[in-house]
């Protein structure tokens, strides 16, 4: 039951985090120059129409009152209606979240499936051609920004080879490039982290002991080294998953995926406060929950981690 108590404690700790994040964001959005009502109504609107819309959106009230009233509504799961698109924020989010989660999960799975074995292999065969190759790939993937890599892959795989569609979500092939692009950075960190971690572990005394007992290399790696070397990797996966949901903003834009990333970009461009606020709250909660899951998984892998303390 320790883990349940721990999980509850962590979830409660999310509340002050959400309050801090939303308050800072709310203040920044309110202080930014520009008249939202005029933007929504257009240049031909009269002063009365603008005043009426400001009243309707509650913009004529003091900042703190607006914030408190927004948060009270949010607690009741009423995140309001978009100022520029006339849609319900929660409904829209529920429609878009599966796309973002799908692409992010695929990207993470791709990064783990390719990155962890490669990292472990290059640690076992340190200073080999494979190891140098992996280090080169890691440097390359870390250095290339997603928008550039995305466009290059679109040109190569879509225009030159005609293998894949450029954008959209119409078929499973549409997800191949976004998965690779969104997972590229995580892949690099997976290779690096699992390599470093494995190198640390195989130099430890208990591994030497296991070898001295006559265990084969395969046995030593599979039964003794991997489990310990995976703990930092799992933590890294959690951090990267959270980063991937943020990184989806760029990837979704490039590949025209109707996820929350593209929703956030459109909202920021149009200063659509309810959508920006709602989306950021959702992302904060998702990231918080993912981090919690990672901690629980770490405790599962490593019995030395005591959640109660």
């Amino acid at each position: 039951m320790d883990w349940l108590k721990y999980a509850l404690k962590r979830l409660l700790m999310l509340i002050p985090v959400i309050i801090c994040v939303t308050f800072i964001l709310f203040v920044i959005l309110s202080l930014a120059p520009g008249d939202v009502a005029r933007m929504v109504l257009g240049a031909d609107a009269t002063a009365e129409q603008i005043a009426a819309l400001n009243h309707e959106m509650g913009l004529d009230k003091p900042l703190l009152i607006r914030y408190v009233s927004y948060m009270l509504d949010a607690v009741r799961l009423d995140f309001g209606t978009s100022w520029t698109g006339n849609f319900d924020v929660l409904e829209e989010f529920s429609f878009r979240l599966p796309y973002t989660l799908l692409v992010s999960t695929l990207a993470i799975c791709f990064a783990i499936a390719v990155g962890v074995p490669l990292g472990i292999a290059s640690a076992i065969k340190q200073y080999s051609l494979l190891d140098y190759g992996c280090t080169f790939v890691v440097m390359l993937l870390f250095s290339m920004p997603a928008f550039w890599l995305g466009t290059m892959c679109q040109i190569f795989f879509c225009l030159m080879l005609r293998w894949l569609p450029v954008s959209g979500v119409g078929s499973w092939t549409c997800y191949i490039l976004p998965t690779i692009i969104l997972g590229a950075n995580t892949l690099a960190s997976m290779i690096r982290m699992s390599r470093t971690s494995m190198l640390d572990v195989i130099k430890m005394d208990y591994i030497r002991t296991a070898r001295a007992k006559g265990n084969s290399q395969k046995d030593v790696i599979l039964h003794h080294a991997i489990r310990n070397s995976l703990i930092p990797v799992v933590t890294q996966i959690g951090i990267n998953f959270a980063g991937t949901i943020g990184g989806a903003v760029v990837t979704e834009n490039i590949f025209a995926i109707p996820g929350i990333g593209s929703m956030l970009i459109n909202a920021v461009k149009g200063r659509d406060v309810p959508v920006v606020m709602g989306t950021v709250i959702f992302i904060t909660v998702i990231v918080g929950v993912i981090n919690l899951i990672v901690d629980l998984v770490c405790a599962l892998i490593d019995p030395r981690i005591d959640l109660a303390s």
């Binding site: 120059p33 520009g34 005029r38 933007m39 429609f95 679109q154 293998w163 954008s167 109707p258 149009g270």
Partner: protein, 502 residues
Amino acid sequence: MKKVGLILLVALLSMSIFAAGSGESTASQDKDSVTLVVSGNPYRFYALSETGCGGDDNLVLSNVYDCLLCLEADGSLTPALAESYEVSDDGLVYTFHLRQGVKFHNGTEMTAEDVKFTFDKGAAGPLGSALFINYDHCNIIDDYTVEIVLSSPFAAFPYGVASRLGGICSKSYWEEVGDEGYLASPVGTGAYKFVEYVNADHVTLEAFEDYWRGAPSIKKVTIALVADVNTQILGLQNGDYDVMRDPSIEMCQRFEKMNGISTSIGDSTARITMTLNAWSGIGADLNFRKAVQAAINKDDINAAVNNGEATILTVDICPMYGGYPDQIEGVPYDVEAAKEYLASSSYNGEEFAINVQAGTTYETVARVIQAQLMEIGINCTVEAVDNMTYQSKLTERNYDASIINEASSLIDADSISTQFIPGRFGQSYPREAEIYEMAQLGRGLSGDERKELYGDIAQILLDEAYTVPLYNGINTVAYNSQLDGVEAHCLGYYNFRYWSWK
């Protein structure tokens, strides 16, 4: 490891074979559907509600609804739901003779009741004062004849009739579903029925088989909403999209060299202008404004931004506007004259900032102007800001100069007057009341008299150097060469009924 490598290789190869198969199917056309890709986000598909509608919504509105008159790509008007119309001698009464047997998408017939409903509701709504200018009331003569009565004459009224607000809506359907229902499920008499809208993703339209002009050739139109321009370009080249709205001029020239992609470039109804602050700061000095006016080389701007494709404006009125004064000569580019004006002004090296929306072609326009003004000794800077800040500075009149895109749904010289409505933006141009009064007078004139009057207004603007007209906006479209009938429209939308596969 060798085995793992081999398995990976086989997996990759088989994946590529599957992917290649699906790529071919994406590129092949089923010849009765079209995907148009745009970067805007149309979402209001009914013009008569309190939320109004904007430019991007036109992409859908112009195809779901028909107006009494149709605005063609080149800005001309042709008969649509009205077979003909007459204007009374005093210019106050427009009598429209409606086409008989026209069906709404829900099967009901369009009659004079629907026309009256549309005009009455449209005029009372948020867009009424801008598009149904001087509309007073509508009389139903019989089921197929209406009289629209204006409070005072307005020569450009037919453009309002053909605007997005003039799309005829069904009165009986509105009585059944109200504004909310109409917005969610629009019904018009247009060539296409509204099927589906997924926010910021796509809009789907389907051909209306009972359309009064005959069923359109393209049976399904998908408007893909893709924010990233690079993705649009690559998607068009890859065959994912058939038509791309508004590629840059430079991109159009590259498309033209490619097999299978054609382009169309046309004048828009927009004037790209630099407007100057003439009510405070250094801009209040006429000599300074004249120095700025003479120092700007519009050809250089056109070459930098449009590869020289746009029409240079001599006055702040587009040549396609009704009442265009072709008798007026603009102010020539003259660096020496500009330096003389500057020397006689009270300018003392203060900063002169150009307000412009960041990341647009207008930012390039501002940068070219900055270089030209620095050449005559003006300490010019460019304030490239986000759209909201830009608009806010514009409406608060908080700038030294602003690059503006004045697009107009009414293709008429009267559009010039909106900038000079007295008191609209608080303190503004010193002679705004006089200009506005003249423009009001122009609404009731016709022929040469009208041209002369707008010539006088344009001359005041040049003499006072309130604005520096730069160039006529352009609209572009790139499309699959197998498509027929695709043309850049002056208002940036398309009449899909003209499109067909070869």
